[in-house]
Assembly symmetry: C2
Homo-oligomer: 336 residues x 2
């Protein structure tokens, strides 16, 4: 069976009037007689008429679509962000085209091309851990398509960004570990390519400094966010002659994995070693011991990013604002 659709022409013929009148009636144009309008509208619903968005977008040079590029879909973080995005997009009459990169730069480039070809009116991006070149995103700017970054932002581009205060969050987390008596706080950091990794690392460092604790570089390990590596690095830390008594992890999945390793080694949490994560993922409260973590306003990240973008689309004013949302330390049993 072939794809068939009802067009304006079909309903124009039925009613024996011109296409333009039908179009006007359908789009709520003022200059059309009440009777004609009524007749058109009724026939339209009766015939299951759906305007062809492709045509509309083509002729208006506006697709009412915003593209989203996220690095991954495994953790609950990005799906949640997307929830926030969709919410405000829908309210403003935009469709959301979601693409996902599985942390691959190549995939990110491919997704960008795709969204460009799809004529999105704006782009919301969070980078993969591999991304170092931004040409595929700069094309959007050059073509006059607004771009807004969120979470994993690009520091090379002068566009609006939505982030959380990673520095502050990391500082508070580390401070919490110190003030609860820990002396040797290790940090399982993210890849240095990501600004969030660097900021969290800075927060960690500054907290130690502030409390007069010498920074031991052997306690800082950067890794690529692949879960298998966590086992290796945590075991390495636990094998150190002068074992750490606390571990601050770049995110919750990392922390949870670390906890598994620590428990397997027969060490007690938090007595032998305290653990804190970052993000407050949905299940972090349920694991044993429940995880102390830095909560981010996940959906807010999405909704503010979308708001910023849509505003830019509709007003053409593009101040490269950086919205920094607050984090909150959630203390649970992995530290106290």
């Amino acid at each position: 069976m072939k794809k068939h659709q009802i067009t304006i022409l079909d309903i124009a013929r039925q009613l024996n009037i011109s296409k333009s009148t039908v179009s006007r009636a359908l789009t709520g144009h003022p200059k059309v007689s009440p009777e004609t309008r009524k007749a058109v509208l009724e026939l339209a619903v009766q015939m299951d008429y759906q305007p062809n968005m492709l045509s509309v977008s083509l002729v208006k040079n506006k697709s009412n679509t915003i593209g989203v590029i996220v690095p991954e879909f495994m953790s609950s973080f990005f799906p949640q962000v997307i929830l926030g995005i969709q919410q405000v997009a829908r309210m403003s009459g935009y469709t959301v085209l979601i693409t996902q990169c599985s942390e691959s730069y190549e995939q990110e480039v491919a997704n960008a091309r795709l969204l460009l070809a799809s004529q999105v009116d704006g782009l919301l991006v969070s980078l993969t851990k591999e991304t170092l070149n931004y040409d595929h995103l700069k094309i959007f700017q050059r073509k006059g398509i607004p771009v807004v970054f969120f979470n994993r932002v690009c520091e090379d581009m002068e566009v609006p960004k939505v982030i959380v205060d990673d520095y502050e969050g990391a500082y508070r987390a580390t401070e919490h570990l110190i003030t609860t008596g820990r002396k040797r706080v290790a940090h399982l950091a993210g890849p240095a390519t990501l600004a969030i990794s660097r900021k969290r690392l800075d927060g960690y460092r500054d907290a130690l400094r502030r409390y007069g604790i010498a920074i031991d570089e052997s306690l800082i390990i950067s890794y690529d966010l692949t879960m298998e590596k966590v086992d290796i690095y945590v075991n390495h830390l636990l094998n150190l002659a002068n074992r750490p008594d606390a571990l601050f992890c770049i995110n919750d999945p990392t922390a949870i994995q670390a906890i598994q390793v620590i428990k397997q080694r027969g060490l007690r949490i938090p007595e032998d070693i305290a653990v804190v994560g970052f993000s407050n993922d949905y299940y972090s409260a349920f694991i044993e011991p429940s995880l102390t973590t830095v909560a981010q306003p996940v959906q807010d990240v999405g909704s503010t990013a979308a708001r910023l973008l849509i505003n830019q689309i509709e007003t053409d004013c593009d101040k490269p604002i950086i919205k920094q949302l607050k984090t909150e330390l959630i203390v649970r049993r992995s530290t106290v």
Copy 2:
């Protein structure tokens, strides 16, 4: 700044040749001289030319887009399924347009209209818990747009479906509880509107029957999947004069929430009461105690559904196959 794009015309003018030749060169048409092709291709990349998919889709009456409607985005289940979908879609040259309903029927209808207007070539759907009327989906059939259901399927429509063997999974889970010595197995079921709820309930019932255990209706509670209710119902079960010694939950989030309640009441798991879930969500292994659950091949659900759909789009043969994927019981510490 206004949105501006490079068109075939632009590159045709630069090269002083006709638009059709450019088009042919770009689409890899055989009948075009190597020099022209080379020149066109080079200029195209140099100018950042991106074909306008809206036009292409419009003229070909094919958007190379498949629409996806999922009921929710909070748990990791649907994002994972989507991963599977995207994988095969991308390989076959399709874009995926994802929509999410927050378990609202109205939202589902709105999403369907949107996808229809977007001229998707096919539709992948998993129903919300509220959906009882399927008119918004039948429109696709009527217009000759293939539809494939997955996970939460519609029994009223004769289209391909991808499900897991819910009955079998539930049966095995219940059997496991019985053979490990439980006599009073309760079931926290999903809403009867969903076929998966009914099938899991049937599996549960049949397992009890098979082992000669009388079914106590007071131990079966159907609920609407809103987490807050779990506390109420679990407490109710625990307050029964003849308390259950096992609890089979419709899914993992429910089971995890139930575990929290049980622990708060000071009961031991699995000694006082065993718990089993369904889905094997990512974090189910990490909670305390780790959760015995029925694993589903999540990504496979997505990929097979996508394969079924694309096959239907491209061959026009629409046997309403029902693919039933296998489940696997994962035994962890919440039961033994």
